[in-house]
Symmetry: C2
Subunit: 326 residues, 2 copies
């Protein structure tokens, strides 16, 4: 299953993804010049569009893609974009997808307001389409995402985090939106509750695997051309699965020494030492094993569906997520 | 009509306001410790609660206060609180209602996430109550509020703003939420479209008068104990009605000189000169006259309603808004 690419995965819904992009770009239009300027800048930085892809595939595996599917895909992508813009303020990030971040160019104030604008646009689309089930799922997700991030910040300050808390945080801040994408997709094309539940669970496990892999990438070898630089999480004192495992499998004095290094992690030397420590303690292998387990659990969720091209794509997406290099 | 107080105005709905506070405080609970800590801090700083007051009075003037009225009041107050928390990041404010702001204590990242959390909580209450009309009004309001603020930022940078743009900005960033409060209140207790429209218009005019008065207070005499310090808008290069009028009634070289002073308004001397200029040109009297005109237009909107104690309060509220000292 090597060399899985998003292009291959998208094949069964190629025309639908193009249609989505048209609707999505139109949804971001505003009469306020500054809003249009910022949204155009956002649209130039093409992301992976994994979330709309999930909505479309989840709709197709359960039935036929329709107007409601597109509204759902636009809703989740607007919300995701809103949270990225806010996250850049939250993380004080200078870059996003290789481009300077919104807050780096236009300052925090505009980033905060643009996030609020994009979020309200997404919700308006659901209100106008009378997709009240989407709204219920979505507002709950916004709440979970912000609670997850706040929990992470609190634990980060104390460098005090175990596996249980880690899984709670990533379920809320990351997996909740993947769950939402899959459930919204299935709901848009089918009335079968069993399908809604199966896709929601698939999304949850996929999302957890996705975040674990994201956290692994922070520890891996070469500096990446795009995306977050290596060691970024350590500098921000974010304790993720590879490090949690390594700390739990060290003597007390060694783990105390590493925590001290993390506190001083403004210095590059300290970051390198922490990365080496995690590698020596097999923290990355362990996290990879767990990500694989979640991917396998997600695969099982698809057993209720008949064999078809969208199912193949959703299976391949799991391999893509845990094998990706960025 | 001097010495109107919010206590007198609240009299017809005293027990209902107390009930609102109980429901509102409960709505902000979270299992995440940091969220609870921040919300408790917010709840300690009792605001004027003008928005829930408006929802309750608008419900009572059109019918009888009920469960849906309370949900509406909680929804608008949660949204208002969310925007205050975000505004402090937007304005880089250190203080709010005489207390250090959330971002001053917990930094921008927590302020952004808390705003998102409070917004989603508000929307969830409307979703759970199946108040889909509220949701439609509310998401449109969030969009207008962020667009209004973004338009203000854009114009601020160029010091380029006329009365028309000023009224567009304050209608979107401030009056839209007052409109929403009054329409939601009327909708919660009555099916009569004429009542919904009358209260929406009342809210719009009240909101415009409220913001003009807010902008006047930035120019007025003594340093205030609570709230924004005098001259804060000038320091942020926000051109409001008193200054727009004064600039429009000056010779070209004088107005150019003042604009230069605003650009350097980090210095206290420059701020004082701008305030003196506005006072000499009767900018404050002019703005007071316009605020009074909007208050009178708002009064006319209430003519469709029979005489009762809520109507008296809504009339008195207009006097309170334009006569207040903070």
């Amino acid at each position: 299953m090597n060399n899985v690419s998003l292009v291959t995965i998208s094949k069964p819904i190629k025309t639908e993804l193009a249609e989505f992009s048209t609707v999505f770009n139109a949804s971001m239009k505003s009469k306020v010049g500054l809003v249009d300027l910022v949204t155009k800048y956002i649209l130039k930085q093409k992301g992976k569009k994994i979330r709309p892809l999930l909505v479309l595939l989840s709709s197709q595996i359960a039935g036929t893609i329709n107007e409601r599917t597109y509204r759902g895909a636009v809703l989740v992508e607007l919300l995701h974009t809103a949270t990225l813009v806010h996250d850049d303020v939250v993380d004080n990030a200078d870059k996003r997808r290789g481009f300077p971040s919104i807050n780096a160019i236009w300052k925090n104030k505009i980033a905060v307001l643009m996030g609020d604008y994009l979020l309200s646009r997404g919700l308006m689309i659901a209100v106008d389409g009378k997709d009240f089930d989407f709204l219920k799922i979505m507002t709950d997700t916004v709440k979970r995402m912000s609670e997850g991030e706040l929990l992470q910040i609190k634990k980060t300050r104390k460098l005090d985090i175990n596996e249980e808390t880690y899984f709670k945080i990533i379920a809320d801040k990351t997996a909740s939106l993947f769950e939402t994408c899959c459930e919204i997709g299935a709901r848009s094309s089918s009335d079968q509750a069993a399908y809604h539940v199966a896709m929601r669970k698939y999304g949850e496990y996929l999302g957890i695997a996705f975040q674990i892999k994201d956290d692994i990438l922070d520890y891996e070898g070469s500096t990446k051309l795009f995306g977050k630089p290596i060691g970024g999480d350590i500098k921000e004192k974010k304790i993720t699965l590879p490090l949690i495992y390594a700390l739990a499998h060290s003597a007390k004095d060694e783990s105390a020494k590493i925590k001290k290094l993390i506190k001083e992690s403004g210095k590059t030397d300290s970051v390198t030492s922490v990365i080496n420590f995690v590698q020596n303690k097999n923290g990355i292998q362990y996290a990879e094993k767990i990500a694989k387990e979640y991917a396998d659990k997600a695969k099982k969720c698809l057993e209720v569906f008949p064999e078809n091209s969208s199912k193949e794509s959703l299976l391949a997406l799991l391999d893509f997520v845990i094998e990706r290099k960025q």
